[in-house]
């Protein structure tokens, strides 16, 4: 009896102890963590987190450390909340597509530091690149579909001074696009492509610069060089086997896959020297015929991320199917290139001798994907299979560490669950902010309140200021974050309105006397003004068969005084920010009286902000079947 009560007391003691803990966190830690990520009402976050929305097609902006979602920047998919995809300008940018697959946002850089001008975002699905201007957090250009590029996944990686956005394709097809060949002839008929997208240094306007034709490997993630690796770029690949079916099996047979080491400055020069041939309007380099542009190095196994460290000397590939990251030494790469330390070639492209360029393989654990850096000599790798973040020491290693690289592995923190990408603030610059790491997890697997079968993705905020990493917060980031960029809030100062002088729309109207509805043949143009809490005019007359154009100007110049223009039963919702003019065209097909109204809550009399589109029957001045007024 006494024994039993002792056991019960013991169990009670354990349960009491664990009461104060959750997931190994003491009550004091919980308080400290809560305070670390707490941003009180009215206070502001210290960093922006720009994270990709994957197949939602959008970019999302959250604050760090609060991890609160603050705003959505629509890019590739319609977003009625801001009217994106309904007005002519955004529809034209979207080019007839209604979704995209955004993977890797990249902030523009000058001298390998964020310059706060633009954010670029790739579309894996439709081979496009978008530019968001950080002056207004809006998408200003969508380039593509890029010719000769299929599966624009290995992008968008900006060069040190945003000369280029570099892209590599995940898929291979018979080129140019539109050519048909049997997938069985994959090695012979199919090709992949590396593209250099030229960025105008003043306007940010992008255009396709040149491309490098490659064997049909599936290029995966990459990054651009800096410092000693200035002018170079790096990608992993996962199908050196050149399999065309059942890739899960057939592309994972070799222990190593070829990674691409691209000298983009040499490529640029070769194109300028006329060494390219044209395909679908783009200068294309054949790397077998233009030596010095492309090298391969075999890295294990089906590697995923390939990240250059802030010094530009170390390049780390995540092993994915091997329990180690591979560290390349760029100085050794350069030596191997100049001494021609090759291990043969693949279709005329030199293969660098692995032993000559590798610094070491760090046994971080299972499923290493991506690596980020804090600028203090430490690397952080996401582990998909082990579901954790591993902190480890970059070279130079001590002799003892070299003997057993397990000793370079310093800390692990569990994530929930299966982290894909991770981001350390400023990791891809030469001066990372460090401080915070965000792990973007692929599975939440019921960790949240039960929301049924369509389950969200989680992101977790980890404090990396100490020797040991500390998870302080998690949030359910909009699906599906792939990669993200972190920018210090104080580095940009976006406009909160569009100043009247900067509105160049020919149909903008600023005074109610300038508003009009005019007819030319069957074309009706309405120039409408929106201000709290009215539209001028609030009646537009037209008839069935007319081509109606409505341009609405929000003449407010006060921040957050946003007006919408929703037209009943016509699939139209435009939202105009202060000072903005937006336009839609429709062909009127049904007669009737259709109210339009302000959709974006503006003022106490928002509900009253409305008008009518009167569509009379074709060819008649009659107001309806009954005719005549009472």
């Amino acid at each position: 009896m006494k024994t039993i009560s002792t056991v019960i007391l013991f169990a009670l003691a354990i349960s009491l102890t664990s009461c104060g803990k959750q997931g190994g966190t003491s009550a004091a830690d919980r308080t400290a963590n809560a305070l670390a990520s707490y941003v009180a009402p009215g206070e502001k976050d210290e960093y922006y987190l720009f994270y990709s929305g994957g197949h939602s097609g959008q970019i999302f902006v959250a604050g760090i450390p609060s991890m609160r979602h603050i705003v959505t920047i629509p890019v590739y998919a319609p977003y009625p909340a801001t009217g994106w995809g309904f007005d002519e300008e955004s529809k034209k940018m979207m080019g007839g597509f209604e979704w995209g697959d955004v993977h890797h946002p990249a902030l523009s850089q000058t001298d390998s530091k964020y310059d706060g001008r633009w954010l670029f975002a790739n579309d894996n699905a439709n081979n496009r690149i978008a530019r968001i201007d950080l002056k207004d957090f809006k998408t200003h250009q969508i380039l593509g579909p890029i010719p000769n590029s299929i599966g624009n996944h290995g992008s968008s990686f900006v060069t040190e001074n945003t000369e280029y956005i570099l892209c590599a394709t995940r898929f291979s097809v018979p080129l140019p696009k539109g050519r048909v060949a049997d997938p069985k002839d994959y090695p012979k008929e199919f090709n992949s492509m590396v593209s250099g997208i030229k960025v105008d240094p003043q306007t940010g306007e992008m255009k396709v610069g040149w491309q490098i034709l490659t064997p049909p490997f599936d290029w995966d993630l990459g990054s651009t060089g800096k410092g000693p690796s200035s002018g170079w770029a790096f990608w992993t690949s996962y199908n050196s086997e050149m399999a065309h079916d059942l890739l899960e099996v057939n592309s994972t047979q070799k222990d190593r896959d070829y990674c691409a080491i691209v000298n983009w400055r040499a490529a640029e020069k070769a194109v300028a020297d006329g060494k390219a041939s044209m395909m679908d309007g783009v200068p294309i380099l054949d790397p077998a015929k233009v030596p010095g542009v492309l090298y391969f190095v075999p890295i294990g196994k089906s590697p995923h991320g390939m990240d250059v460290d802030p010094s530009g000397k170390w390049i780390v590939a995540g092993g994915k199917l091997q329990p180690a990251t591979t560290v390349l030494n760029f100085e050794k790469v350069q030596a191997a290139v100049s001494n021609k330390t090759f291990d043969g070639d693949f279709r005329g492209i030199p293969i660098l001798k692995y032993e000559a360029v590798v610094e070491g393989e760090v046994p971080v654990g299972l499923g290493p994907l991506h690596t980020q850096y804090d600028g203090k000599g430490f690397a952080y790798t996401s582990m998909f299979i082990d579901s954790c973040i591993v902190k480890w020491k970059l070279p130079p290693w001590t002799d003892e560490e070299k003997k057993d690289l397990n000793k370079a592995v310093l800390d692990k923190v569990q994530t929930h669950f299966s982290t894909g990408h991770l981001v350390v603030a400023g990791s891809d610059t030469k001066n990372p902010y460090g401080k915070w790491l965000v792990a973007m997890n692929k599975l939440s697997a019921g960790r949240h309140i039960n929301v049924g079968p369509s389950q969200p993705e989680s992101s977790q905020l980890i404090d990396i200021t100490g020797d040991k990493m500390k998870m302080v917060a998690e949030s359910y980031t909009e699906p599906e974050p792939h990669f993200a960029q972190i920018l210090k809030v104080s580095e940009i100062n976006p406009n909160e309105i569009l100043p009247k002088d900067e509105n160049k729309d020919a149909n903008a109207v600023w005074d109610k006397d300038a508003t009009s509805v005019t007819r030319t043949g069957n074309k009706v143009l309405a120039k409408v003004l929106a201000i709290r809490s009215r539209f001028y005019p609030d009646r537009i007359d037209a008839q069935v068969g007319d081509e109606l154009t409505v341009a609405v100007t929000n003449v407010e110049q006060t921040r957050d005084m946003i007006h919408g223009f929703g037209l009943i039963e016509h699939n139209i919702n435009m939202v105009m920010d202060p000072g903005e003019t937006k336009t839609f065209h429709i062909k009127l097909t049904k007669q009737g009286v259709f109210p339009f109204y302000c959709t974006n809550f503006c003022s106490a009399l928002h509900q009253e902000m409305q008008g009518y589109l009167v569509v009379k029957p074709a060819g008649g001045a009659s107001t309806g079947a009954a005719g005549g007024a009472p």
Partner: protein, 211 residues
């Protein structure tokens, strides 16, 4: 009795004929400068704060213009836009006759000051003081009347009906969801100092003897 009155008048007469010494004239010159400089600074500021406008909306009143605070003077348009809900007439510079005659009167006073410096008689200073004080009080009265008019001539068809009111001239007042703070600004202070300089100019020559 008669003699007493006659003496007083003689003393008054003598006082008015006192010459102004160099210090007095210097003070008058300073007063003229202060008035000239005040033209370039706001006389008054009205600051309106509401929950949605936590940074506040500003209205600056200059001798020759009204100007809103914020980017491109946007606060004026914003205040007018808000006022339309209660049916208040929009504040437009063209409606303010004061903005034409005030700079003119400033110039006139400066001319009178220069005249006093040249003629150098106490009587000039007294004239100046009287005219200037009258002008100052009239302006403040006219400003108050403007405020009264704007707050009382409200459009009866306005969507929001509120009790007619007079915005605060000096101090703080709650008007619907707004808290109004109204205070004189640098221009007004410069003008006050110029009055003080004129009084001091007279004081400094009080013991001078008529020639």
């Amino acid at each position: 009795m008669q003699k007493w009155v006659a003496n007083l008048l003689r003393r008054e007469f003598k006082f008015l004929h006192k010459p102004l010494n160099a210090s007095s004239r210097l003070f008058l010159l300073a007063a003229a400068l202060f008035i000239a400089v005040s033209l370039f600074f706001p006389l008054w500021k009205m600051h309106l704060v509401a929950p949605q406008y936590s940074d506040g909306l500003d209205l600056f009143i200059f001798p020759y213009k009204i100007q809103g605070g914020g980017f491109n003077g946007q606060h004026l348009a914003e205040i007018n836009n808000l006022n339309h809900y209660i049916g208040m007439k929009p504040l437009q510079q063209a409606d303010f006759l004061e903005m034409i005659w005030m700079p003119f009167v400033f110039g006139f006073i400066i001319l009178l000051l220069l005249r006093s410096i040249v003629f150098g008689a106490m009587s000039n200073v007294i004239d100046l003081f009287a005219i200037y004080t009258y002008f100052g009080l009239f302006s403040i009265g006219s400003f108050w009347y403007r405020l009264y008019q704007y707050g009382h001539n409200l459009d009866p068809k306005a969507p929001v009906h509120i009790q007619p009111f007079t915005p605060q001239l000096v101090g703080v007042k709650q008007i619907a969801n707004f808290r109004e703070f109204s205070y004189p600004q640098l221009g007004a202070y410069l003008l006050c100092v110029s009055v003080l300089l004129i009084v001091l100019a007279g004081w400094l020559s009080r013991k001078e003897q008529p020639a």
